[in-house]
Symmetry: C2
Subunit: 270 residues, 2 copies
């Protein structure tokens, strides 16, 4: 099995890439993890220019020699290549898995909207830097290599699912890049956003015309919340309010997020 | 003429309210500026509970004794009362002007979507705290009282216009609270957001199905941008890119924003 790593948003260091490859060589010796050199480029905020990031993604996605694309890290920027890459994906791209989270939700969402490949929300190579003994990256590899059910988010119940960082979901709402999530359980998570912003993003979700017909909403981890005074409502109250406006059940918390406990959520019926 | 001040988001102090009333008494002695006591309530993040803020807005908006509603300040929270207040507005509410900016874009947008009253993007009572000799609040009063054309944003050219804080616009996109802006020049401004977030919000604008048919986009002031490394593009480049994706012209900069130079933009044809 061959897994290709590209970075459609921000760069990783060669050291982080080498660590992931070493980890994979020890834990899944049958797997070849190939890191595209684009992952180390720097152009302003991004891992290379839009053209460089798009070209690297297309090169690996369209190569039938790869079984999966593992996104190196989030940050910001994968939305800027959607218009370029989506129309150029071939049959080999449609046969692949795509795994990542955070900003990669733009690509996962757009690929799912067009039913190109299998999209998976889960840990990325950058997570090798977590002090979790490799659990995060091991979880992503265990899913890609073995479809190991132990790494799945424990609330998955057979209904179709999709998972997004809330800010990325808000950015997708109102655009054709948002997939049809009718009958899906929607998982959201957030990092480094004040509670009033989470409430504001959930206003958009709760009022989104495109999201009528969800089976329910779950909230993952909300971490590194900046101090901003007392908001006056708990996260569960916020979620209950806006899910109610949308007319779908709030199903409670979930094990996804920008933290060590980021379990795997395959898009669709899994 | 009577102008009513309410606070659908965050509170102001009695001192700020008194200062605005004193300023109005000196500069426009024929005008009665009435401050609803709800403006001073505190409930978590907000100027009173959702019910209290909705009730104060409805009380003044539905009162034929007021000619205009002047929103006290932004912050966050006016979106939380839209579903309650919009269906309860009467004929007196439809005869009024509504003036504010920032978070008040939720109310201005929703009122404009339902063609209730005349919506105006401009300075608020909280701006009495700016060291601009009262120019900001004077500008708002000059429009409400005299329709003084000198306070209008200088690029207004007779085509219909609308103005929003970009984060509020992003939150509205994809919801039925966003008005139909076909053939409008859209003004946006932003404060305290990193450049990558402005780019991300403009991705949503540039891809928003609801915003096809704009006459063009203008960018107001972008102030208090947090340091976040080199992005790699100027604001004009960002605007040009996403306006191009939407297929509408980027018309350049404009004199609105969270700063002293916040000129008046009446929604619609003015």
């Amino acid at each position: 099995m061959r897994i290709g790593i590209v970075a459609p948003a921000r760069a990783i260091t060669p050291e982080a890439a080498a660590r992931v490859q070493a980890f994979a060589a020890i834990t899944f010796p049958q797997v070849d993890v190939v890191v595209h050199p684009q992952c180390f480029l720097e152009a302003g905020h991004f891992a290379g220019t839009d053209a460089q990031r798009a070209a690297a993604f297309l090169e690996f996605a369209n190569d039938p020699g790869f079984d999966a694309i593992w996104f190196a890290r989030g940050g910001y920027g994968s939305n800027r290549i959607l218009g370029t890459v989506l129309p150029q994906l071939n049959r080999a791209a449609a046969a692949k898995a795509y795994l990542g989270y955070s900003d990669m939700g733009f690509l996962l969402g757009a690929l799912y909207a067009r039913r190109i490949g299998r999209q998976v929300h889960g840990p990325m190579p950058i997570d090798v830097g977590r002090s979790d003994g490799g659990a995060s990256v091991g979880r992503a590899l265990a899913w890609l290599v073995n479809r190991d059910a132990h790494v799945l988010e424990p609330n998955l119940d057979g209904r179709p699912a999709a998972a997004f960082n809330l800010a990325i979901l808000e950015a997708l709402v109102g655009t054709p890049w948002l997939p049809d999530l009718t009958d899906h359980v929607l998982y959201v998570e957030e990092v480094s956003e004040a509670i009033y912003r989470i409430d504001r993003m959930m206003f958009t979700v709760g009022n989104a015309t495109q999201l009528h017909g969800l089976a329910g909403i779950r909230l993952g981890q909300v971490t590194d919340v900046p101090e901003n005074g007392e908001f006056g409502e708990t996260l569960d109250e916020i979620m209950t309010r806006w899910a109610g406006v949308l007319g779908v059940p709030y199903l409670g918390r979930a094990a996804i997020g920008h933290a060590a406990g980021n379990m795997v959520v395959p898009f669709g019926a899994g």
